[in-house]
């Protein structure tokens, strides 16, 4: 742990607070430019529309200096871990960074988030001196796993079944492109033109970041940049610590469950437990996952400790304690991880050992985040939301004239109620923050038709502040193909808090207009014919506070808007709404006070 400097310090090393501000702006600008370039050049909708990518600059010690603010936290957070992983591999193999190198990396046991999130790392040199790293990560459509697509690979039995493993591979060695490697990739992944196009975009964006960083170093001097970076990291750290200090010291815990494989005969593959205990001690917080389920050796819901579990923890703590809605805009850098100490027993689902598969770790990671928030609800009741609805990721695929098409659809979840605010409806939750793909784009480019995309009605967790609504989305195949799904939230509804009720579970239904076949949340490569329709239903957030204390006018509004029924208004909120859409004051009073 690094030492804290005096909070009233004026200058640190050779840096003054004015120069630090100037350098912060310049660094963040570089990361944003990298992100822009990546999205604009990339081919697959998962990068350009969903924005499932990250871009950051690191110092030579792998401290993150800045990140692209327009992308998703699950891609941004792990970047330092990727480069630490690359360094570990290099140390083991006796290799070194060279000017002109571009290194490709996706090994979850060496810092990566999971296999499909591939990093391209450009070491930045000033002459022969290594001065930092410029890195992009992005989710790729296909990585050569056993079934098409890079999500919903829920049957992978080990790390080898998840697709190609790139352990710190130099795709450019001192500026020379490794054509053989490139050809090998092209031959071993589906939709390779698109994926390779995306990878080229990543390399280009990483190189741009490296150039800009070098320009900045030459302009300001490396000493100044590093001193400013240290200053900025200390600053972010101090901001987080002062918020942790405001929490009452103590230990806070909660349990959450991941559906896992609902139809699997083996009970150890269902209802996977996440146990979180968060100990607040002064300006530090210790998060412990002891008690969580053991790793599943042959199903890919294990979470890489560094690339997923730690990121979920950092994300939740930053969002609760330094919420950008209520706090100063502060630099997102490695200083924010210093007050946070995480432990998960080796061999548990939160810290698996090689070669346990990890590719479908997305949903469990969001449960880690949600459960930690649950634990902290006791310490920071005004800063949390009630239980959050988890997402589903669906890979649609098919063959047209011998060529694969793959489309990855990330569906949305919802947030629970909050202090004085209802939950957010139909959004990506916690460590995910992607964008959906326009229906008009999907139908123009894939043999799919989106038949419905609406909010769920009458299912949100009741509370003084109610949970947000999940979504209903129906997608029909226009020609035969396959669907793989990686989802959660069919068996465990988002939790209510402070007297609020739980939200509701999600669902997955094949052909909702005809056979109405209920499917589990985890599906591998289901064969579908033209006309088959898949309905995804996302969970609704939990309620916050006693629903009988909800403002009757708010209940009336919900009834008029058709998101709460009159029956629910009576049953859960104790509010009687007349057929003329007015509040029956007398009946409501009786229900609330005499009932």
């Amino acid at each position: 742990m690094s030492k804290l400097t005096n909070p009233e310090h004026k200058t640190k090393g050779t840096i003054d607070s004015i120069t630090a501000q100037v350098i912060w702006g310049a660094l963040e600008n570089i990361a944003i430019e990298m992100g822009h370039k990546l999205t604009r050049m990339s081919y697959s909708s998962i990068i350009r529309e969903s924005e499932d990518f990250g871009a950051a600059l690191l110092d030579p010690d792998c401290n993150q200096l800045c990140e692209s603010v327009f992308s998703t936290p699950l891609q941004l957070g792990p970047i330092p871990g990727y480069v630490r992983g690359i360094k570990r591999v290099f140390a083991e193999r006796g290799e070194e960074f060279q000017p002109g190198d571009v290194i490709m990396h996706n090994s979850p046991y060496y810092g990566a988030s999971h296999g499909p999130d591939v990093a391209f790392c450009v070491p930045v040199f000033d002459g022969s001196k290594l001065i930092g790293f410029s890195v992009t990560t992005a989710h790729h459509l296909d990585i050569g796993a056993l079934v098409p697509g890079s999500c919903g690979i829920v049957d992978a039995v080990d790390a080898y079944a998840e697709g190609l493993q790139f352990k710190a591979i130099k795709v450019y060695d001192r500026g020379i492109k490794n054509q053989q490697m490139w050809q090998f990739i092209a031959d071993n992944i589906r939709a390779s033109e698109m994926v390779l196009g995306d990878m080229e975009a990543q390399i280009s964006a990483s190189r741009t970041g490296a150039e800009r960083y070098l320009e900045l170093v030459r302009e300001q001097g490396l000493e100044t940049i590093l001193a400013a970076s240290e200053y900025l990291m200390d600053y972010s750290e101090k901001m987080l610590r002062s918020e942790i200090e405001r929490l009452p010291d103590g230990s806070y815990s909660a349990e959450g469950f991941v559906d896992g494989f609902e139809n699997d005969p083996d009970p150890t593959k269902r209802d996977l437990k996440i146990v979180v205990s968060a100990k607040v001690q002064g300006g530090d917080i210790y998060v412990d996952f002891t008690g969580s389920s053991p790793q599943i050796p042959d199903r890919p819901v294990n979470m890489p400790f560094e690339g997923t579990v730690a990121i979920a923890v950092y994300l939740v703590l930053r969002s609760i304690l330094l919420d950008t809605e209520t706090h100063e805009y502060i630099p997102q850098n490695s200083g924010l991880t210093r007050p946070i100490h995480i432990h998960a027993p080796l061999g548990s689902i939160c810290n698996p050992t090689f070669p346990a598969p990890t590719i479908a770790r997305f949903c469990p990671g969001n449960i880690v985040a949600s459960t930690l928030m649950h634990a902290l609800s006791q310490a920071a009741p005004q800063q949390i939301s009630a239980g959050v609805g988890n997402l589903k990721v669906v890979a649609y695929s098919g063959l047209v004239q011998g060529k694969y098409w793959v489309y990855i659809d990330i569906t949305e979840g919802s947030y629970g109620g909050r202090s004085c605010k209802d939950g957010l409806d139909c959004v990506d939750t916690l460590y995910a923050n992607t964008r959906n793909n326009p229906i008009e784009d999907i139908e123009s480019h894939y043999p799919l038709r989106v038949l419905r995309y609406e909010m769920r009605e009458d299912s949100m967790g009741p509370g003084t502040w109610r949970g947000g609504a999940g979504s209903i989305r129906e997608v029909m195949f226009l020609s035969s193909g396959h669907a793989s799904v990686e989802g959660d939230g069919h068996r465990h509804a988002p939790w209510g808090v402070f007297g609020g009720s739980p939200g509701s579970c999600g669902d997955l239904i094949l052909n909702p207009q005809s056979e109405i076949r209920k499917l589990p949340a985890m599906i591998s490569n289901l064969s579908l014919r033209a006309g088959d329709t898949l309905r995804t239903v996302s969970p609704c957030g939990g309620g916050y506070g006693d629903p009988a204390k909800r403002d009757p006018a708010a209940v009336l509004n919900d009834v008029i808007d058709g998101v709460v029924s009159r029956a629910t208004a009576v049953r859960d909120y104790k509010v009687v709404i007349t057929d003329q859409n007015t509040i029956d004051e007398e009946a409501t009073h009786d229900l609330r006070h005499c009932g």
């Binding site: 280009s204 809605e325 909050r418 326009p438």
Partner: protein
Amino acid sequence: MILVGIDVGGTFTDIILADTVKRKLAIHKLPTTAPDPSEGVLLGILGVCSREGIGPGQVDYLFHGTTVATNAMLEHKGARTGMITTEGYRDILHIGRHQRPQNYSIMQDIPWQTRPLVQRRHRKTVSERVVPPHGEVLVALNELEVRARIRELKAEGVEAIAVCFLFSYLNPEHEKRVCALVAEEFPEAFVTSSAEISPQFREFERFTTACMNAFLGPKVKKFVLGLTERLEGIGLKGDVHIMTSNGGVATARTIAEKPVYSLLSGLAAGVLGGEWVGRRAGRENLITFDVGGTSADIGIVTSQGITEASARETRIAGFPVMVPMIDVHTIGAGGGSIAYVDPGGAFRVGPRSAGSVPGPACYGKGGEEPTVTDANVVLGRLDEHHFLGGEMPIYPQKAFEAVAKLAGHLGLELYETAEGICTILASNMANAIRSRTVQKGHDPRQFSLIAFGGAGPMSAIDVAHHLRIPEVIVPLYPGITSAFGLLTTDLKYDFVKTELLISTQNPGSRLIRDMRELEAAARDQLLKDGLPENRIRFLRGLDLRYVGQGYELRIPITENDFDGGECDRIWSAFHDRHRVEYDHCFPKNPIEVVNLRVTGLGVMPRLPESFERNPATKLNDAWLRTGETHFRVKGSLQRLRTEFFDRSRIPAGATIAGPAVFFQKDTTTVLPPEWNAHADEWGHLVISRNL
């Protein structure tokens, strides 16, 4: 010919009257009237006319920049609006792109969920469905259902209705039919359809734009038609033209139907004013830099003209807007920006501003926090006798007290703190400019910075220094550059059609057909506005991307690019542009046409090259006094002997070495050491580094 420009801002209404024959310019400034800004407009016109001894009837053209639509969006005060949409998609407007605006926030709000343009109760669905690739009708429109929904909306008391169907950009017939049915069932309603406002793909953005148009419709229509009527009442015969977000003007009647086009009316005028100044000086690449008390507005002009915002980046009050807009980037940094130490000990400037009330500490109106203006007072760059032409008293002592207090918190020396405020402000501004230049592949070192607004010329040279911009131009009348901009443009209507076509499938003939169609529509609009055929021009462009990409690049085209239906010249222009933008192109990959664009221009009368003015003949006559100011020279802060001048009296051709300060009624220009200012023949100050 007599042209009048009226720029209504938050504080002031600026009026400019130009006589193009006599080359005379008259300027008038009065407080903006609330709640009805047209009062001030009327008073202003009458004022300037009587001063110049002309009757309102002699005004040939009137150009107006308005913030009525902008403010209605910012304050979320529009009409009760209804929506008719395709069955199965009631909540497109509410779900949006399912992305949270902030990555790290539990307590955030989502604008379209907390402040919906159309409440869910007023979002009605009907059966109909159009599908790609060519807008085939999969489900016919159920007209009985439509009539029933319209009657419901009428009964619910909505004032405006937006009709929004999926894929209407491919086939607008269903939307058109519903609009016709609204006209039958509910003729009083303001009605708008998504394809009519913006026939482009991406349903959330298109629907939102249409709903915004409906939301703004009744209010803007009332304002615009009311203004026209009152202007006619005072004898004004000339057409009223309103500045649009794309940097053109439209007739009042058009804006009454499509108010969403006027969202950036006021901001666009500033960029145009800056462009006019830069072009007069013969410069090609310009950064327009309009700084007031609370914000700085930045626009980019290249040889291609004023840069347009991409559909992705165009937002107002957090909502996406899918209409062509000038790319104006606004940041919270201006003369009133407050400097402070945040809880983590960081030295910050803005975005919070002291505004005009209480204003900077030196205004003596109760403001105690140090602002950028106060820092300039401390550094000796502003003085109590000449601030805003001496009309506004300032109290230097209060500025010193406020900055000294901050210096105490920071443990810095007084002047270091004051200079630090200016440096951090300039750095924030420089970063905003970088995001519009470097990030888009433009090198700021090849641009001139056109600095105006009340606070632009005070910070511009510091900003130029940060970005290595070689030259700053301060216009003759920095405070009314926006009003000026109103007089420099043409009628401009953008017509767009989404056409997903592939380069390998000979799209030429289809494109030519569509282009003719759009041209006809643009011509109709301009003829309707009373333009004669010989003043109508067209600009054409294609939005292209490689198949599979999600972002398009705009490629200007001409009729000649279609070589007998072949488009090779267009494709190679795209490869070139892609390489410029991303250092990369893929000449073997197929290209996808996304949008076809035609802009119809109705050429308006031009301002003369220069105006009469009355400067001193000798620089000495413009000299006011010698004083002392603080500037950083070669890393250390120094106290320097500095000359102060009356800007309006500087003779053409004069060159002045920094440090120097130029006072004029509406702004102060600060010239640091190592920079020279040269007054050109039109009275602009051209400031460049002293080599």
